[in-house]
Amino acid sequence: MVDRSGQKKPGPVLPFGQRVAGALNPVNWYRKDPALWRESGTAYLYLLPALIILGIFVFYPFFSAFYISLFKWGILPPRPYVGFANYSYIFNDKYFWRALWHTFYYVIITVPVTLFLAILVATLLNKGLRFLSFARTSFFLSYISPIVAIAMVWRWMYNADYGLINYLLSLLNKLPFVHIDPIAWLNDPRYSIPALIILSVWHYVGYHAIILLAGMQNIEQQYYDAAKVDGASGFQTWLHVTVPLLTPQLFFVLIMSLIGSFKVFTEVITLFNGPGPLRSAETIVYYILRMSGRIDSATMHLGRAAAGSVVLFGIIFVLTIFQMTVTQRRVHYQ
């Protein structure tokens, strides 16, 4: 156990310095000191609203998903217990593994690119642009627009024949030695995930940039003054002052975008109206929803859908814990 000062502690901390027999058992603390009841009672009371909300919307659904994953669960009973048969079904389904691969491919590119661009945008905005609030609003606009509307526009931009993106690419053909054929963004299995990535990066970069910008603006001027006194260049200041002091926000953005990216779905269904050519854009959440019978007029297999959700939860959980332990050591709080 390590506290904030980094010193090793000798064992469980006892309230009010009591060191009595059986002190390791918290029950004894309450027996010895009725005041503790009052104190923790108040604390729990304060925690209660959050606990109730989390309980209803997070813990209950999770345990219920795990429970459902052990049954052959159709819309009507009987719902026989099948043990881990749903898990073995999805692990033997090549489309599950493909969906997993598509999702990883998407996450591995989307998360770092979004983060990098967000830092860039935030830094530029922080430079004190003339129309800062206008620029900030513009960047945020992409995030607050409904994804369905965005995907409609992007579907047009991605159009192989009349789309804006292929038009811009075709302009490059005017350069010597450049030849780019029009890309069938939404109809060529190779470009499905890239098309999804471009859309998502564009969609989320503004939101992340605003969070980072808020963090940057909270950094005390004194650090910059000190850097100036030390003769640091602009880039050095950014690298050694701004970025380290921005780590709490960077950490938050990283975790949130990782979790969000693993759950990509709306973008897929609105962009491709389905799983994409040769099911090349079928992500893990798409797979889960298909199994639940909610898309593609599929048959309902809620047990398999729940098993898929539990697996997705496991992946996100492990990655988040990993990130927490690895990254948090580098996070500096002012």
Binding site: P277, R279, R294, D296, A298, T299
Partner: protein, 407 residues
């Protein structure tokens, strides 16, 4: 004993009196007809309520089809289904035990009037249970500036598709395809070819897969021959009209395709599908009306809902609904109404849709049809994109569907 008898008789008498007086009854009607269609549906419901003043219908828009499906599923779990709702076959095949059959309360004439192709997809265990409501049919759309006479047979369709596939600017890429298919989104296009070749996915009692028999092979080989002349996409074809000379699509997409054709600078034609080796059928899709037989529904409510369903099936009403919504009438006599004939005369594209409806077929009611459809769309997509040969793709379809027979 005597007292019991008297009480019983009294009860019966009171019940009859109550029935005769038609106690007020209120039913909920869930639907997914958005703002454009809703006033027309409301008008029909208002007419119904005027005719049956003791019945109040709460017409409730539940959002998209997907939202409606979600709410019906939730209502199944919560035990508060509405009395009547718009439903797709796949939604109710797993809950058919909760349906209140409408057919037994209809006259023989009313049942016989329903378009033949729509009867099987509303019949559960030999009983007409749901009734068709908003239906569309696959027809042939074509560039009328390019094609003066649309093809009437597979042979003509193939020749024309081949002739119209061209690289206009000589850059090695095809600029216009003879035809287009959306195999992943619309495996029904394959089912049309299958049916026209005389085939089916399963045998009549669902004990065996018949897809890989001779008609299936004929259909898949025809698709295979079309590959070089087909623009294969999962996008809407209306987004690529300039690229395609003719294609098979649902009648419900008429307005989108019309706009697409206008944008691409040509006149859109609509024709019946070219005939296959056995018939000239096409697939009908769309929703039906289901009355629910759950404990929260009283007999009076179910009776009222049946009356509503029968009312909506009346020729003048299904024709009115079709004229206003762009869906197709679901009873044969509707097509004979002067009002409908006038409508078709004013909208010539409707003629092909009407003719096609009368020789339409619809999906099977196997409880695993949803999964079978996923197999069909996945494999059909692989076939048309050349990821697998037509025959291998067909064989894979059969194997995977075989595993779904049991339910």
């Amino acid at each position: 004993m005597l007292r019991k008898l008297i009480v019983g008789l009294l009860g019966l008498l009171l019940g009859t009196v109550a029935l005769a007086a038609n106690e007020p009854v209120t039913i909920d009607f869930w639907h997914a007809m958005s703002s454009g269609h809703q006033p027309n549906l409301q008008k029909l419901v208002d007419d119904f309520m005027a005719e049956y003043p003791y019945i109040t219908v709460n017409l409730t828009y539940q959002g998209s089809y997907s939202a409606l499906q979600g709410k019906i599923n939730a209502a199944v779990a919560a035990g508060n289904l509405p009395t009547i709702a718009q439903v797709y076959e796949n939604w109710v095949t797993p809950i058919q035990s909760l349906l209140y059959p409408i057919g037994p309360h209809m006259t023989a004439e009313e049942i016989a009037d329903i378009i033949d192709g729509l009867v099987p997809s509303n019949t559960y265990n030999g009983v007409l249970t749901t009734v068709p409501f908003n239906k569309s049919i696959m027809v042939l759309y074509y560039n009328a500036d390019l094609i003066p006479n649309p093809p009437t047979t597979w042979g003509e369709f193939y020749d024309l598709a081949k002739a119209l596939t061209v690289d206009l600017d000589g850059d090695g890429r095809i600029d216009r395809y003879g035809t287009a298919l959306r195999p992943a989104a619309n495996p029904e296009q394959f089912l049309v070819f299958l049916n026209q070749a005389g085939g089916s996915i399963l045998n009549d009692d669902w004990t065996a897969v018949t897809l890989c028999e001779e008609p299936g092979i004929t259909a898949v080989e025809f698709c295979g021959r079309l590959i070089p002349y087909t623009f294969v996409t999962s996008e809407y074809i209306s987004d690529h009209m300039g690229k395609v000379a003719m294609f098979i699509d649902t009648s419900a997409g008429y307005n989108y395709n019309k706009t697409g054709a206008t944008n691409a600078g040509y006149t859109l034609g609509v024709a019946m599908l070219p005939a296959g080796p056995v018939n000239r059928s096409s697939m009908i899709q769309g929703t039906n009306l289901a009355v629910f037989n759950t404990p929260n529904q009283t007999q009076a409510q179910k009776d009222a809902a049946v009356l509503l369903a029968r009312f909506l099936l009346r020729p003048e009403n299904t024709a009115y609904w079709a004229m206003k919504s762009g869906y197709q009438p679901v009873t044969k006599s509707a097509y004979q109404l002067p009002a409908w004939k006038e409508f078709v005369a004013a909208n010539p594209y409707q003629q092909a849709m009407s003719d096609q409806m009368l020789v339409g077929f619809s999906q099977i009611l196997h409880p695993n049809y949803g999964d079978m459809r996923t197999v069909l769309s996945t494999k059909f997509d692989e076939i048309m994109r050349g990821a697998v040969s037509p025959l291998d793709g067909l064989r894979a379809m059969c194997e995977e569907i075989e595993a779904l027979l049991e339910y």
